[in-house]
Symmetry: C2
Subunit: 108 residues, 2 copies
Amino acid sequence: MDNDQVLFAKALADETRQEIMKHLCCVWLSVSDVVEKLDGRVNQPTVSHHLKKLEEAGLVYVREEGRFRYYSLNQKQLTMCCGLLVRQFAPDYAETVIPAEAIGVVKR
Amino acid sequence: MDNDQVLFAKALADETRQEIMKHLCCVWLSVSDVVEKLDGRVNQPTVSHHLKKLEEAGLVYVREEGRFRYYSLNQKQLTMCCGLLVRQFAPDYAETVIPAEAIGVVKR
DNA sequence: CTATTATATCGATATTTATCGATTTGTCAA
DNA sequence: TTGACAAATCGATAAATATCGATATAATAG
């Protein structure tokens, strides 16, 4: 029903979910780890719900380990989605915001 | 209540609104122009509602002219928001997706 | 085996939001 | 000045979604 762009935006369109994303950036956390990070503000079923949304949008990696499920932010997916948004809605800037390796960036 | 990142994501988190954004990219349209572009699928109050959301997120320019209000997509704002998202949630890619002029891009 | 622990799912509820018809406000044309 | 038009706002409604407690499922520890 929703296309990928909309799915991506919806995944980001919640304060709590963005906070979870921050916690999942560069590290692997289990569901209960995330619950803990949120400091009792939301509880486990809610966190599972949010993680599912992020998973559906391809924004997290998941690793199963016994009865644990570890999540980590998929930075590449996020970057690609942002890139698509810019190409679609900001063509005048698509050339200045560049997937660097695609054109061979050289810093001066 | 919502911070800017969330406000931005929410503005994009609707199919109809993204379609409106497409129509507003690089051109100025009045409200009734937009209604027309949407081909009778949504009507005027709904379009006004969506345009208000986009305006609140700073994603459109507005120009008043008599009884008309013309809207156009703010590509710069969109690009900056995407850039912030990448910096915040994809630090490993913040260097590869670059505001080119900031570092002096050279194409090969 | 049994108790415990981790997480997903279910059902219910409350909030948010998209949509519309009707109305209001403001501008212009005749 | 009046009638027509553009667009915002209002009130109502329906759909989507965030949240929770309770339960189910599955894996482990004892």
